[in-house]
Subunit: 289 residues, 4 copies
């Protein structure tokens, strides 16, 4: 389940109304075209009349048609018959990812580090920040670093500038980016922006969650990776985790502990997205991991 894909791996994500025969239809289609299914996960929201989700990994060395024709044929036949929303991707088409960050470096560095060790199957095309503090750390990884200052006055222009820098990416990660993106910006990247929120949502939405957690006296603190929607801190949750704390912790030690949770949670969510393991359904996610 957790193995990184080799270059001949393809992945098919499917969402459709649940009906009998879907597994048979999809697997027979692939078999008939020389694809070897090496992973298959499915989920349905209800035994009768539910919505059906499927993820397949298959190997492509013995395909009897080109990838393009395979995709077109699947769309014209099986997908049409079952009313599927679907997405076919190939591990050899490496995804491009950009990262937005402000001053905190922990989440950013975790991503860069894992990526540099082969743990994130993507190309990191750029890091964009509203501060220049992390320029050296980023460039040490051989990744271009861009500064786009954002103020209340220049917000529209700044976002346009960021958009220009992000063109061509498949995924944008907010690794503790402290600016709120406009609804317009977000709408152009639907389910393609992942944010790390430094609390166990829906607890402690908004600013300064570690202070809120301290004031409340909780015994666990957490972090949440989610897709960004126009509704702040409310997008579909991909992954969460927690760490035990005690009365002996103060806001600073909560933050220190929390940053470790943040970087792990974000790294997992980003990897799952890159491996096509996440399907968004309404305001929730199906994660086949």
């Amino acid at each position: 389940m957790k193995s990184l894909a080799n270059p001949s791996t393809a992945r098919l994500l499917i969402t459709c109304p649940d009906k009998e025969g879907i597994v048979s239809a999809v697997s027979s289609f692939l078999y008939n075209h020389g694809a070897n299914i090496t992973a298959l996960d499915q989920y349905t929201t209800a035994p009768e009349g539910g919505t059906y989700f499927m993820r397949l990994e298959f190997q492509t060395p013995h395909l009897d048609i080109s990838r393009q024709v395979l995709a077109k044929t699947f769309g014209d036949t099986v997908a049409t018959r079952y009313g599927m929303t679907w997405q076919l991707s190939f591990a050899s088409d490496v995804k491009k990812m950009a990262i937005l960050v402000s001053k905190y470096d922990h989440a950013l560095l975790e991503l860069l580090w894992r990526w540099s060790r082969g743990g994130l199957p993507c190309q990191i095309s750029a890091v964009v920040s509203n501060h220049d503090d992390l320029k050296g750390a980023v460039e040490a990884f051989g990744v271009p670093f861009h500064v786009v200052k954002v103020t209340q006055e220049n917000k529209v222009e700044a976002e346009a500038q960021i958009q220009a820098l992000l063109q061509g990416n498949d995924l944008v990660v907010l690794a503790r980016y402290m600016q709120i993106l406009s609804a317009d910006f977000v709408s152009q990247w639907q389910h393609k922006i992942i944010n790390i929120h430094h609390s166990f949502l829906p607890a402690f939405v908004g600013a300064n969650p570690y202070q809120q957690a301290y004031d409340k006296g909780v015994k666990l603190i957490g972090a949440t990776a989610h897709y960004v929607t126009a509704d702040l801190d409310q997008g579909p949750i991909i992954e969460q985790d927690v760490e035990r704390v005690s009365h002996g912790d103060n806001v600073k030690t909560l933050r220190d502990l929390g940053e470790d949770v943040e970087r792990n949670v974000l790294a997992r969510a980003v990897r799952w997205h890159l491996e096509d393991r996440v399907i968004v359904y309404g305001n929730k996610t199906i994660v086949f991991n």
Copy 2:
């Protein structure tokens, strides 16, 4: 730290303004009267000008004065000098505990089971319920079971009846008791009622937290044990824990998993209270465990 006390164990809980010399004063007082300190925990909210908390366990076989005189002398000397709020208890004075419950049995049975195996140092004097469903299960443990039906009309009388049944107890546990206690009732048991809430507070306050968790699509569910205050679901948190869930869970499986978390969290909180490990400070708790 986790050892159950033997009958000669005494415990002293202290809250006072932080000042130099407290440890010295308390430990010298005890030493001078023949007490042997076997556990000591302390915490201060700030290095300068904070509030100081201390928990001591000591052994009493060689006390040079009676327990009563020890307490009075401590109060007149050390405690007065440092402005302490304090509480001295003896493991041989076994605490009395009552349990309120409705129809769910998991939290109740966990407590009865652990208690019957010697895991909760208390006497369980009674279980009171607004339903009679659990009568057999409770009486199998040799514990008296009382039914007090509560309706919108009889609420005042019902609470009076419950109060009468609870007299003499040191602790009341709400093991999924589905009636809201009046502010008046609660005020008579300050920091002596422990409730188990079936969510990771402050997320999902109010009714049906598992449905809320399902609708939100969280990846962990939790439970919270807290002291009951007049402010519903807002009392000082004693203990919390979580369990990992996935998109594949429905409300029923969330509840099944959650019930396991609830019973463990409640059992820990109750044991810590019985072992005098919890000090309430404002709306938070210090837990020396």
Copy 3:
């Protein structure tokens, strides 16, 4: 994934050499006979030339043939073609389970309790013990309790007596049964006896693992549920878990904490077995949960 099955659920477990087309063949066979696949998990030990494992859950209300004919036809066609070892079971054929126990009650009571609340899909036919201590506790659940004393002298006769009591069961659980079963006994119940071992195997095999853990100064203790083979403590592991401990724990508190781990680990392993989620392969298990 975690939903308990309804009575119309059937489950198919398959082990065979990995080849292209298996998913297609199995799912098409089921679809063609009116079965609706509601869960499907698969795993292969290697991308090329590996061993393939599959678990399907499907619903049977609209089968076009009887269950018997479905099984026979599957065996004669798909299973034969792919060289499958397979097992087809129906949730409505409730499995029968017996429990062997000595004096410790925690693992036994956890199973009885979960079973009484509908959490274990089986019929508990009998509890057999070499002591009579737990007779009352077992009979309170309406389960027959049998005592078979075992001594060095009567071991052969005692095992024969136990075998007679166990006839007709699908699963035998050793819930801290302190007698070692003979190789002959074990061989008659291959992959049908589950034991709970009170350590994180392979650490601390043999007697008194909590003492061993204490002497070693480990910072986590664990428990392991495994199938019983003739090789003591070496059978295929089904599930494990751990709990954090510290220098402050002694052998007794390690045991208290460990018993909580044991009962949870055993309950999970037993449920997975009853839901046909476990396939044994060599000395390891595939667990589709």
Copy 4:
């Protein structure tokens, strides 16, 4: 408990036969010299006749004597009276740490990263490796990097060379250093070398623990940080942790997951050592954290 110390913090570690009056004697001594106790932990191996351990943190701005005189006076009076083994250290005397490493970078980089962010209270004086692969990564943190090749022939000279490089350090960390240090080397750094072992000891001692874990089919993998003794993989355990795995993992994914556990476990153990939270007693540790 978890707060990093400020420069005026001092720490006292004590081991002695348990007797009444120790807390009183130590705390009164400190109070009388103007020290303010801000943390105090204690543990005794037995209620009667045990060995007693204590850790104090106190603040030194108002000491009435110099640090040197404080230490000497304590040694001459309280420590002598109670037969204490003790150690007094000052947070302002920053400890010096060196790291030995081979080719794996994850544990090393975690330490460098946390250190560079202020998370490890020490000076990292040098990294020594038997390979030059990590030279660039280390020097990017401004830390000197030395290569000492070790072969079967030059082992004695190589160790002498390493010893020379390590002189003056308070702690040596083996961050996946793949050479076995000689007993003679180890004896010169008693309880001052911390190793990270990539398994949950005592399971899977020796080479290739991830392969061993895979072959055994365990459901959790772990890592262990321990002090190095002449007895390979058998030194006192400081910290351990585990991560859940499944049949779907292969040796490579076990290693990937395990490396995350390794770096966290090692970072915690090193921090605790640097904060004087660890006392070795026989082959076990007392960790006041």
